[in-house]
């Protein structure tokens, strides 16, 4: 799904056009799901626990 969205986005960038049927923000949301975006998925539990605890300050 994400790969398909990415290729659509890439196609849109190449042609300067937005993929048909996809809003600007739907594309951005798909991007954040994609492997190209910065993600914490797959990092060690120890590191993730540390950063999530630290972030509790933001998540009151």
């Amino acid at each position: 799904m994400a790969t398909q969205a990415l290729s659509k986005t890439k196609a849109a960038q190449d042609t300067g056009k937005r993929p048909e049927g996809e809003s600007r923000w739907a594309q951005v949301a798909e991007y954040f799901k994609s492997e190209q975006a910065g993600h914490l998925t797959g990092k060690s539990d120890e590191a993730l626990t540390y950063v999530r605890d630290f972030r509790k300050d933001f998540d009151l």
Partner: protein, 150 residues
């Protein structure tokens, strides 16, 4: 056209697909109209960069990339003198009406700045911090949404 001002706690959901709320935030973002704008405060940049500096080495690159993605896709709103006026009045009103102690009030300084920025830009403040619901009682024009809730 509506402007949405994302609190840093929404950015931290977008960085972490395993975090509860990721799909909900993603869905809300997808549903925006093309003419809508999404922004973050420069203060959120300060908070996020602090998070990167403090993070374990193995996470730093991913977090830096997330912030690059934020800058690439969303506007960054600066601090302004107009919002400072709003901040001064709003925080004082809240302090007097709620009798909140100085220490507790200081903990929420950034929240009052975000609320003032949202009011200045007539933006919807998107956050999962309930403090904004309390601040809104003293700023009825403040619109608040929590995209991590259904």
């Amino acid at each position: 056209m509506t402007t949405y001002l994302l609190d840093v706690n929404i950015i931290t959901v977008l960085e972490d697909q395993d975090k509860p709320g990721f799909d909900l935030v993603s869905r809300r973002l997808s549903a925006l109209a093309d003419e809508d704008e999404v922004a973050v405060s420069v203060l959120s940049a300060y908070e996020y960069k602090h998070g990167i500096a403090k993070a374990p080495a193995e996470l730093k690159e991913a977090l830096r990339k997330t912030w690059e993605d934020v800058e690439a896709n969303f506007s960054i709103l600066p601090l302004s003198l107009e919002a400072a006026e709003v901040y001064g009045k709003l925080k004082t009103l809240y302090e007097l009406e709620t009798q909140t102690g100085e220490r507790r009030l200081k903990e929420h300084s950034v929240d009052f700045i975000l609320a003032s920025t949202a009011l200045e830009h007539n933006a919807v403040l998107v956050s999962n911090d309930n403090v904004f619901l309390r601040i809104r009682e003293y700023a009825p024009r403040l619109r608040v949404e929590n995209w991590t809730e259904r």
